[in-house]
């Protein structure tokens, strides 16, 4: 097979130890985690399972670090044809789509309980008879501050702000500032990208640092928000469906922001090391896409969880 001048070789690594050992790491992580959760729920000691999970997670992290490092080295060594680079682009794009669908499940649950099941339990709508038979005194409301059966799911405290939409209200409203912060961070990230394409490394590092900083501030404010929810409002994971949807939606978003901040930090380090070229910086773009994606999810959260 003589190589044709028009054909670039698609680089297929001969062998790799990463996938197999990453599988072991992943398995130990979830197996240990399952043990931890079961032990806690059964009131037993969790030591062994904790170690299993930690060892697994260490292996997984180490392998993924090496894996990404190898991929970067291959690119720097010029092994990646234009076609191979397109594979990474497709891969990241559809990975983000799968994340969209993950959030869709939680948004779907939110819409379902707000539009259907809570009203039904309150005696309204097509299946309103459910309310009559189960908890006749229950009144549908959102945010749900009085649960159908408060002995099973303790009610949040009274006095959760009802949104009043005045400028003064927004000034003291954490989610509003978090929205501002995340949207700003998307813009600063875009400036960093522009600087990267213009080969202005100093500007690039400045804007990347600002973006990472904004991500960290967002996470800090979100932690504050949780303290407020738990301490002040009594909205907890086990305080009924309002807390359930609130914490899983914002919690998974926060987890994704954490991951995104981590990715951007890695990109910042790579910017400092000078890894990127104006025409070859897909690692940066992938992280940026991911960041814009968590930003968009937040806008959805702000509208449907906080405002409406």
């Amino acid at each position: 097979m003589a190589s044709e001048s028009s054909h670039e070789t698609y680089y297929v690594p001969e062998q790799s130890k990463f996938p197999f050992f990453a599988s072991i790491g992943l398995f130990l992580t979830v197996f240990g985690l399952g043990g931890v959760l079961n032990d806690i729920s059964a009131g037993a000691s969790v030591t062994g399972s904790t170690w299993t999970a930690l060892i697994g997670f260490t292996i997984l992290s180490f392998i993924l670090f090496q894996w990404f490092a190898t991929t970067i080295r291959e690119n720097h060594a010029g092994l990646n044809s234009a076609q191979l680079k397109r594979s990474y682009v497709w891969g990241m794009g559809w990975f983000i789509f799968s994340e969209v669908m993950f959030f869709a499940a939680f948004f779907g649950a939110l819409f379902y309980v707000r539009q259907l099941s809570v009203p039904w339990l309150g005696g309204e709508g097509d299946k309103g008879s459910a309310g009559e038979f189960l908890w006749p005194q229950f009144q549908a409301a959102w945010p749900l501050l009085v649960n159908p059966d408060p002995s099973a799911y303790p009610n949040p405290h009274e006095g959760l702000n009802v949104t009043s939409w005045s400028p003064a209200f927004f000034a003291g409203y954490l989610p509003f500032w978090n929205t501002v912060i995340l949207i700003t961070s998307s813009v600063t990230l875009h400036f960093a990208h522009v600087a990267l394409k213009a080969e202005n490394r100093k500007r690039l590092i400045q804007w990347m640092s600002v973006t990472v900083g904004l991500g960290v501030i967002f996470l800090g404010l979100q932690a504050l928000e949780y303290v407020e929810a738990y301490g002040h409002y009594g909205i907890t994971l086990d305080s009924g469906i309002y807390g359930s949807t609130f914490f899983l939606l914002t919690g998974f978003h926060g987890f994704h922001v954490t991951l995104g901040t981590f990715m951007l930090t890695v990109m910042l380090i790579r910017c400092i090391k000078g890894h990127f070229k104006p025409n070859d910086h897909f690692g940066f773009e992938a992280a940026a896409w991911y960041w814009h994606f968590v930003d968009v999810v937040w806008v959805g959260l702000f509208i449907f969880v906080y405002c409406l």
């Binding site: 190589s3 190898t70 299946k127 086990d238």
Partner: protein, 527 residues
């Protein structure tokens, strides 16, 4: 990992070839062997069920263990046998069919595979845990799986999580391969239908596996952190579980059948020695089925109570699926019409697929009729319906594919007589096994119950006999495959007289690396 110089050497020696491979053929073979092992394990669980149901009364197992068997049988067959088998076929055949050197992301490809043995080790190990394994059916409805589930449910949840990760990575790989790796001249509408059906299947996977991850995550939080997603006492709803599950679950059943359509669309033209009738309409029908699969999920839930408008919508949308499916069946029959047919084992399985899958499709239309479903729901009629589409449907297509491509994989012809024996025993066995279950269901026998009323006895023993016949016949397949790997009549590159497509232009067995430079565009013909 020096790249440029050692391109043409063969596989590594020893176990490291399999543990560390990046080769799509190795990974495809591992997927196929793994899925066959799971097929036998899940089949063994099914035989436990059929042994218990051989006669009325409780014979062999206690009801709790029976529940674990129905659950694990379903989970293993869906996630361990059928899905990985199709992924194995995709790994082996897609690069060969589109003239690509390998899958687009070869290392991630191996990760997708190696997650599976660990995930299933964890899932099967639940059977030995305190309180037993999952016992709530493969659909794991809340609150059976949350409030009332055994402690091992946690491990089941995490197994589903990592299986989902494996599927999503596999699907991303398929999409990147098909969209990015086609040889010059291989335009979308020249792709073999197997490639088309897998492309669409991969989109279904990416769209619904994350929803499954979401729903098991909600279960995990309901169980361990006191959330109220599926508990009305806290404002949630157990029916919410069913909506989320079936939003995943209905596309899931198409994930298990669309690649089968692709396989049958490859085999029937070969042995009818005619081009596939209506290629374009096949592509559009596949896409239509995939689209419809997202808007029919609640037909699994007619009896939980749903607003009338919902019942009507889901009934009509479901019936609509019969239209593109009918297009496909018509096209397969029209392909055979006045063809020069021969009946080698792959063709026998493919024709049986068309006939028996269509029966499963018809009972599907019956179940789609809401008022009628009120009677059929949760009876053996449903069991008969989905086993007809999955066993003589999906599984038969996998057997057809195995016989069809085995000479290309091994370089030898398989034993045709044994293949035919395997087919006829499977064909008789599967119909004995599942056809009487229609009558049992119509007469009111509920599914997932270890005992039954006396009037169901006759059909149940017939079904059990069929089950054992079908189950043990599969050992013939194992024997044929091993025999074929070890030797036999040399296969030509073309293998089958009427076969079309790039996979038949490479030698048999297919060299370890193929299409490192793209094939001659003149070899790429319209289907």
């Amino acid at each position: 990992m020096s790249a440029a110089h050692d391109h043409h050497h063969g596989p590594a020696k020893g176990i490291s070839r399999w543990l560390f491979t990046t080769n799509h053929k190795d990974i495809g073979s591992m997927y196929l062997w793994f899925s066959f092992a799971m097929f036998l394990l899940g089949g063994t669980f099914a035989l436990v069920i059929r042994a218990e149901l051989f006669q009325p009364g409780l014979q062999f197992v206690d009801p709790l263990f029976f529940n674990q068997m129905t659950t694990m049988h379903g989970l293993i067959m869906v996630f361990g046998a059928v899905m990985p088998a199709f992924v194995g076929m995709a790994n082996w055949m897609i690069p060969l069919m589109i003239g690509a050197p390998d899958m687009a992301l070869p290392r991630m490809n191996n990760w997708s595979f190696w997650i599976l043995p660990f995930a299933f080790a964890m899932m099967v190990s639940t059977l030995f845990m305190e309180g037993g394994g999952p016992n709530f059916g493969w659909t794991f409805y809340a609150p059976l799986s949350t409030t009332y589930g055994p402690p091992s449910t946690t491990f089941f949840i995490f197994a589903v999580h990592i299986l989902g990760a494996s599927s999503i990575m596999g699907a991303i790989n398929v999409i990147a391969t098909i969209l990015n790796m086609r040889a010059p001249g291989m335009t979308l509408m020249k792709m073999p239908l197997f490639v088309w059906t897998w492309l669409i299947t991969a989109y279904l996977l990416i769209a619904v596996m994350p929803v499954l991850a979401g729903v098991v995550t909600m279960m995990l939080f309901d169980i361990h952190f006191g959330t109220a997603f599926f508990d009305a006492a806290g404002g949630g709803d157990p029916v919410l579980f069913q909506h989320l599950f079936w939003f995943f679950g209905h596309p899931e059943v198409y994930i298990m059948i669309l690649p089968a359509f692709g396989i049958v669309s490859a085999i029937i033209p070969t042995f009818a020695r005619k081009r596939l009738f209506g290629y374009d309409s096949m592509v559009y029908a596949t896409a239509s089925i995939a689209f419809l699969s997202f808007i029919v999920w609640a037909h699994h839930m007619f009896t939980v109570g749903m607003p009338l408008a919902g019942q009507l919508f889901f009934m009509y949308a479901t019936m609509l699926i019969a239209v593109p499916t009918g297009v496909k069946v018509f096209n397969w029959v029209a392909t055979m019409f006045r063809g020069s047919m021969t009946f080698e084992t792959p063709m026998l399985f493919a024709i049986a697929f068309v006939v028996l899958f269509t029966i499963g499709g018809f009972t599907g239309v019956m179940l789609a009729i809401t008022p009628v479903d009120f009677q059929y729901h949760d009876t053996y009629f449903v069991v008969a319906h989905f086993h007809y589409v999955l066993v003589p449907g999906a599984v038969f297509s996998l057997m057809a594919a195995t016989y069809y491509w085995l000479p290309k994989w091994t370089g030898y012809m398989y034993d045709e007589n044994l293949g035919k024996l395997h087919f006829w025993l499977s064909f008789v066995g599967v119909n004995l096994l599942f056809f009487p279950q229609h009558f049992l269901g119509l007469a009111g026998m509920p599914r997932r119950i270890p005992d039954y009323a006396l009037q169901f006895a006759d059909f149940n023993w017939i079904s059990s006999v069929g089950g054992f016949l079908f189950g043990f016949s599969q050992l013939i397949l194992l024997f044929v495959v091993i025999k074929c790997i070890r030797g036999g009549k040399k296969a030509t590159a073309q293998v089958w007289e009427g076969a079309q497509g790039l996979e038949w232009t490479v030698a048999s067995p297919a060299p370890y690396h193929t299409f490192e430079t793209p094939p001659d565009p003149a070899l790429i013909k319209a289907q």
